[in-house]
């Protein structure tokens, strides 16, 4: 009789344990990771293939664009070279009318003289190092007149951005002018905020 009672007790305890386990698994009481916070969709700006700037060439070729910035003779006299003022250290003082220009071309500002690139008498054109007169939209020839190896790489499609097709039989490969990415007065490629990094799958990794 006693033996029977003991067996019944043990079996009853086992039943109780099994039922507790069943409830615990069913209700996810342990062994499951908690839900991670939803990962936000990335800002579509990070998906854009637009260049850092708009080059003069692009500006002039897009209909309805505001090209008033390039209308030099709205203020300047034709045929008269504007006077450049220098400060005590010999640096050019940017006039207030052109205050949105930040000069920073070359180490130690070696190339900060306006007329190194701009033609003094014909202000709406550019002049290269070897004296050629260039159209204001022709930045590759101007920049290439000093930056030879970079220009050679650009012509090969290796410097800067190319787009379109690698297989030129199926489509065109597009090239960008220098000023589409580089500000001609401050050419160093600008830094930016990076897109979000990887989100881990596991909450423990997320805490690191």
């Amino acid at each position: 009789m006693k033996q029977n009672a003991k067996t019944s007790l043990v079996l009853l305890a086992l039943v109780f344990v099994f039922l507790t386990l069943a409830t615990a698994f069913h209700l996810n009481l342990w062994g499951r990771q908690g839900p991670l916070p939803r990962i936000a969709l990335v800002d579509t700006n990070f998906l854009s293939t637009a260049t850092a700037r708009v080059s003069a060439a692009e500006l002039f070729s897009s209909p309805g664009a505001d090209t008033s910035d390039f209308d030099c003779y709205a203020c300047h006299e034709k045929g008269k070279a504007p006077t450049i003022r220098y400060d005590a250290a010999g640096t050019i003082i940017i006039p207030t009318e052109h205050k949105d220009i930040v000069m920073g071309h070359g180490t130690h500002g070696r190339n900060n003289n306006c007329f190194n690139c701009h033609n003094e008498t014909k202000l709406d054109t550019l002049q290269s190092r070897d004296g050629r007169e260039l159209n204001i939209t022709n930045s590759p020839s101007l920049c290439g007149s000093c930056h030879g190896p970079t220009f050679r790489d650009w012509e090969a499609g290796v410097h800067g951005r190319t787009g379109g097709y690698w297989n030129t039989k199926l489509g065109e490969m597009t090239f960008k002018a220098c000023t589409a990415c580089h500000d001609p007065h401050h050419p160093k490629f600008p830094g930016r905020k990076p897109a979000p990094g990887p989100n881990p799958l596991h909450p423990i990794a997320a805490k690191e």
Partner: protein, 300 residues
């Protein structure tokens, strides 16, 4: 049997059944029931054009049912006389991660749980060891002084470890150099993930989730069609773009023009120019012997 015995044995039996049900409970997470057609589908290399048409129709209906957008699914074959090579200019990469997200967008990668094929490693100057890279950087401004950035994705190796270890040959290198995966053949054993030295292969632990508004309907069978839970996936150099002559999405979005892609068998391509003229640090982990088709180089 008397009443007491009956009650005792039925309580035991019920608790036993309850315990078995609790043990089988994770099966409730299995949402992807495979269709009969997919179950009996042959390996990609054994498919006839008619088989492929039926499969593409099935995929189109599945995607339309799930996303309410009718996709354009095609099977792109490699072009003749083409071997792709990718070159990345480490002097130019600024670590902005736009390539990562352009890839996610183009290839219908899962957003939550998150899947990203490209990992951008922030490397200290002087080091070319990927183990010293940090993928989780998040400063206010990149590039940071004293570091350079090295994006790593599938290197499309000539002697790939992943295709060697796959027990079912669900992954192989095509004639144009791209290592592809047949998602319907993959069994999800993850040997390839263990074999790859670059952590290029990604596994779908959960069902991938792509928001409807961001779905790319231009899909390919071996490339960016929506994957299922339990299969491997990886960068495939945008087969739906490169096999029709275009550039991969990461190439087109890079703001600094650090990425160059092309046909190495063409002596006039950009990548041929780079490998002839630039200081190429060859390949990551070249001592392992995978001989990748991905080259990192410097400008000066």
């Amino acid at each position: 049997m008397n009443r007491r015995n009956f009650l005792r044995s039925s309580a035991l039996a019920l608790s036993g059944v309850a315990a078995i049900a609790a043990a089988l409970e994770p099966l409730r997470d299995l949402t992807d029931y495979t269709s009969l057609q997919r179950f009996f589908q042959k390996h990609y290399k054994q498919l006839t054009p008619q088989d492929m048409e039926r499969i593409l129709a099935r995929i189109t209906t599945e995607v339309e049912k799930q996303y309410k957008i009718r996709p354009h699914v095609k099977d792109y074959k490699p072009m003749d006389g083409v071997e792709f090579v990718y070159c990345l200019n480490l002097t130019r990469c600024i670590g902005c991660r736009k390539c990562v997200h352009a890839c996610v967008q183009e290839n219908n990668l899962s957003r939550d749980p998150e899947m990203q094929y490209i990992r951008v490693l922030k490397m200290p100057h002087g080091s070319l060891n990927p183990e010293e890279g940090d993928a989780k950087y998040n400063p206010e401004m990149v590039p940071e002084k004293g570091f350079f950035y090295m994006p790593v994705s599938c290197q499309q190796c000539r002697n790939s470890a992943c295709s060697k270890v796959c027990p079912v040959k669900a992954t192989w290198t095509d004639s144009d150099g791209i290592t592809v995966i047949d998602y319907d053949w993959c069994i999800g054993c993850r040997y390839c993930e263990a074999a790859c030295p670059y952590f290029a292969r990604r596994f779908n632990w959960k069902k991938p989730e792509v928001p409807k508004e961001r779905l790319n309907p231009n899909m390919s069978y071996l490339g960016n069609r929506p994957r299922m839970q339990g299969v491997m996936e990886k960068c495939h150099w945008c087969v739906q773009r490169t096999r029709v002559g275009q550039m991969p999405a990461c190439h087109d979005v890079c703001p600094a023009g650090a990425r160059k892609f092309g046909n190495i068998l063409d002596p006039n391509s950009e990548v041929s120019y780079i490998l002839r003229n630039k200081r190429v640090f060859i390949q990551l982990k070249e001592e392992v012997g995978n001989n990748p088709r991905f080259y990192y180089y410097f400008d000066v």
